[in-house]
Structures are given as structure tokens and as C-alpha cells.
Amino acid sequence: MEHKRTEILRLLEKDSRLTAQQIAAMLGLETDEVSKTIDEYEKNRLILGYQALVDWDKTDEEFVTALIEVKITPQRGKGFDRIAERIYQYDEVESVYLMSGGYDLVVIITGRTLKDVATFVSARLAVIDGVISTSTHFILKKYKEKNQIFSVLPEQEERMNFI
């Protein structure tokens, strides 16, 4: 059963629109059992949310996404968490990760313009106590995200339909 519970998460991670009934059929479980497990996961925040993966380049919306490397000084007793917290509270911050290697945090933010992002970095991020330096990289094109390729792969010219 524990294995099947993990399978529920895997299926939902791939397609969060699957119904409990569908998942039950796919894994050979009872629908009630699946519903209960999902409810539990949502309550425990093991499942944090359900989102669509959008290719915004196909819309008229204009915005820029930046990946910012941040070096910080860890604080006594709190390590990196206190500063990370001060960063991730901003709405424009999409993701924050603690990293190994040449810098400490990666912050991903989306703004309407380059200027928005620049302002956020200089006025908000760089001035936080403990932030030593930042290095901002703008994302130019997304090829693949969450296992989904953004461009459409071409179809083979001719395919067999039977047998």
C-alpha cells in the first residue's frame, strides 16, 4: 500500500487533473481510498497545490524571468533560513533554493520589465542584511520545464494504423 500511495503522488505530479476514480482504476485501488489519501496529503501539505504549465510565449503577455544567484552570510542559530525567509516573502519571488557550490541561494523572480527586475534586485534583495552579492541572469527562452518540451515535436510522415 505504501508503494501505491507513492504512485498516487507520481500520477498527480504528472497530471493533476486525474480524478480519484481514474487513479483508483489505474492502480487497482478503491476510489474512496484514493480520495482519502489525497485529502490527507493536502492537509499535511505533502501536496502543496495544483498548477497548469503555461507557455506564456504564445500569449501577448510580456514579462521577464530572472534567475538570481545570491551569496549570503549565514546567521548565528538560523543558518541560511532567516535570510531565505526574508526573500521568499516577496510576491514576485517564484522560487528560492539553497544551493551547494559557488553561491548560496537561487532566487527566481518574474517581473513585467527588465527594469522591474533590476529594481527588485537593487532596492529589495541586495540591501537585505547578510546578502553579500547578487548576480542576475535573465531567462531568454524556455525549452523544457517539468518534463514538458515547449516546442511541438514533428509527427512522423506516415504511420501504420492497424496490426
Binding site: L11, Q22, A25, N161, F162
Partner: protein, 389 residues
């Protein structure tokens, strides 16, 4: 002057019936928004590291013939793969031949065995090629209908009943397309007992060996007493989603493989070089791809079986391959009629069980190697279709 081709062409060829599903092609021609559950092919594309190995071999200019039996490095990989995955022992020097798909291997096996009038026992419903290839080789197909109540296994009694002094070979098409039946160890022990003391050869078509659910595939060649009389056929198409690469392989004792290699040499020369390079990569580091695809198929299998059973159709739970084979007798239609109407009215292509030989009538084959979206939509259309009847 018009030539009379009916007189010119070989009657042996002309007498072979074309595949019964030809007419569906014509219906399908002008249709849009069709969901095809009709083709027995993975919907995955070949994993990138395997494709990349093929591309790399082309960049390097590896475009010449290989040795007739296939590259030695590939045969060694096949040998180690068979040992690793199925505990089958074959010597890469003398017991393995790389073919153009499993189909060529089936053809070669029949050709090296059959004398005119020899009988070949073919359990049905099963893949469509065994009977025509037997006929072309000069043999006589002898069909044995397997039954849903026996989980579509070939039972020892059924086999015994079909054997005559002319029996040359028996085909064991397991895991079975289209039924999803498999043969387990104790079933094969029974088969071994029946064959003991005869010269009958087993042609074991194991192209779906990696796709079993709940238990690993067991080959007749895993039994010591059957090993000398068993030809094992396998390939890359289903396990690694490599159908278009056309690459299979066949194993047996040295005298069998030597004769097959001779025929293969004259008819084919060697299997495609690019495909062989890709295949080496598949065998070296493709085990995880197999597991991933199998667990995906397993999910779809349960989903589809559950779906058709909910609609009240009887359906054997397939133990291997990637098809469900529900019984549609309750609809009062013949399999042909069911498939034709399902295609015209709901635009879903499935295959009439009758195409797979005696015993297939009353059943329909649907392939679940298709995306979940397709399967969900196909089930919705099936429900609508059956509800209307």
C-alpha cells in the same frame, strides 16, 4: 499485350488471404479525429540515448555492412542481456542471429524446419503472420483455439490432441498478442511432458517478454528438457520502443542458428548497421527505460480493463503484452460488425478478434500503448457506443 498475372504469380502466394483488416484502411482514409487503438506499437518514441547512439554511428561514418549474423559486440550484449534478464544462456559466437525484426526470425525459423506437408501447430488467437509464413514455407498450419477460461494458455491436452506424425513445430506466442495470455513454468512443464520423445521444435515468440505484469516472463528454453528443441525469438521493438528500427534476434542450438544464418545471409545480408549500433546502447543502459515503460503500460492496462468491465463487457485481465481482448458477444454483433460500426460511428479503431485466427470471433483487440488522454476519450466513446445499442 496484357500479361495474365493470375497465371504468372505463384499460386502459393496468391492463395494466401490478405489480412482481413484491409477494408478499415479505406474507411480510415477520410476520417479525422480518429483514436487508433489498432496498432500494436508503443506510443513512446525511442529513448534519446538510444537514438543518439544511432546518430553518433552515422556521424562516425559507420555505414557499411556488418557480419551476417550481426556485430559481435551486439551479439555479446544480447547474450549478457538474456542471461541478466531471463537466465537464458546462449553463446554469441554460434547461437545468436540478429534479424530484421522478430518477423524475419519467425520466417527463418519456419523455413529452416519445414518440409512440404509438415504441420505447424499454431495456438490462436495470435499474431497474424504465423499461418501465412508457414504456408509459404510449404507447411500446413494446424490451429489450436485457446480459451479465455484457460487464460488463453495452450494446455498440454490441447497440444497433445493436435500432434500428428507430420507435426514439425509448435509456435508458442507468449506473452500473447492479442490475448495477453502468458505461459508459466508449470504450464511449460506440462508441454515438455507432451513433447518428450518427439522431434517437435518449439518456436517461442517472446517479443513481449519484457512486458509482463506481476511476474517475470518464463521461457520454454528455461527448462533444461526443452532447451535443445526451442527457438527463442525476441527483438527491440516492444521493449525499447524501437519498432521502426527493425531489429530482432533469434537464439537456438548451433545447428538451427547456422542454417538460419545461411538463409539470412542470402536474403538480407545483414541487419541495418545504424540500428545495430543503437541496439548496443539499448542493451548496455536501457534496463531502466524498460522498467519505466512497463510501469506506465501497467497503469494503462488496469485503467482500460476497469473501464470496459464497468461497461459490462467481459474481459480477461491480460498478464502480458499491451492489449486488452474483451469479449463483445453480449452486444449481439460480430467482431467485424462491432469494429466497423465503432470506427464509423465513434471514430475509434480497434481490431476484430477474427483477424487473429480461430477463436478470435466474439472478441476485439484494443491496444493500450496509447496516451491516457486517448484511452480516456476512447472509453468515453465506447460507453456512448454501447449505450446506444
Amino acid at each position: 499485350m496484357m500479361l495474365d498475372y493470375d497465371k504468372i504469380l505463384s499460386s502459393r502466394v496468391m492463395d494466401i488471404k490478405p489480412s482481413g483488416i484491409r477494408k478499415f484502411f479505406d474507411i480510415l482514409q477520410d476520417m479525422e479525429d480518429v483514436i487508433s487503438l489498432g496498432v500494436g506499437e508503443p506510443d513512446f518514441i525511442t529513448p534519446w540515448h538510444i537514438r543518439d547512439a544511432g546518430i553518433y554511428s552515422l556521424e562516425k561514418g559507420f555505414t557499411k555492412y556488418t557480419s551476417n549474423a550481426g556485430m559481435m559486440s551486439l551479439r555479446k550484449e544480447i547474450s549478457s542481456y538474456l542471461d541478466r534478464r531471463f537466465a537464458l544462456k546462449y553463446d554469441p559466437e554460434t547461437q545468436i542471429l540478429v534479424t530484421v525484426g522478430g518477423s524475419e526470425a519467425i520466417d527463418l525459423s519456419l523455413r529452416v524446419l519445414i518440409e512440404p506437408g509438415d504441420e505447424v501447430i499454431i495456438p490462436t488467437p495470435s499474431f497474424v503472420c504465423y499461418s501465412p509464413l508457414t504456408t509459404i514455407a510449404g507447411g500446413v498450419p494446424v490451429f489450436v483455439e485457446t480459451k479465455a477460461e484457460n487464460q488463453f494458455k495452450l494446455t498440454a491436452e490441447e497440444l497433445k490432441g493436435a500432434i500428428t506424425p507430420k507435426t514439425k513445430a509448435v509456435i508458442l506466442p507468449y506473452p500473447c498478442n492479442p490475448t495477453g495470455g502468458i505461459m508459466e513454468k508449470e504450464d511449460l512443464v506440462g508441454i515438455a511432458r507432451v513433447l518428450e520423445g518427439t522431434d517437435i521444435i518449439i518456436i517461442s515468440d517472446e517479443i513481449y517478454a519484457e512486458l509482463t505484469y506481476g511476474q517475470r516472463h518464463f521461457s520454454p528454453a528455461n527448462l533444461e528438457e526443452l532447451y535443445p528443441r526451442t527457438i527463442v525469438i525476441n527483438g527491440f521493438s516492444k521493449a525499447y520502443a524501437m519498432t521502426g528500427w527493425r531489429l530482432g534476434y533469434v537464439m537456438g542450438t548451433e545447428p538451427l542458428i547456422a542454417q538460419m544464418t545461411k538463409l539470412h545471409q542470402f536474403a538480407i545480408m545483414c541487419s541495418p548497421t545504424t540500428s545495430q549500433y543503437a541496439a548496443i546502447e539499448a542493451m548496455r543502459s536501457g534496463d531502466k527505460d524498460i522498467e519505466q515503460m512497463r510501469s506506465e503500460y501497467d497503469i494503462r492496462r488496469r485503467y482500460l480493463v476497469d473501464g470496459v468491465r464497468t461497461m459490462g463487457l467481459e474481459c480477461f485481465e491480460p498478464k502480458g503484452a499491451f492489449y486488452i481482448f474483451p469479449c463483445i458477444k453480449s452486444t449481439g454483433m460480430s467482431s467485424d460488425e462491432f469494429c466497423e460500426r465503432f470506427l464509423i460511428e465513434e471514430k475509434v479503431a480497434a481490431i476484430s478478434g477474427g483477424a487473429f485466427g480461430p477463436g478470435g470471433e466474439g472478441f476485439v483487440r484494443m491496444c493500450y500503448a496509447s496516451s491516457m488522454d486517448n484511452l480516456t476519450e476512447a472509453l468515453a466513446r465506447l460507453k456512448r457506443f454501447i449505450g446506444r445499442l
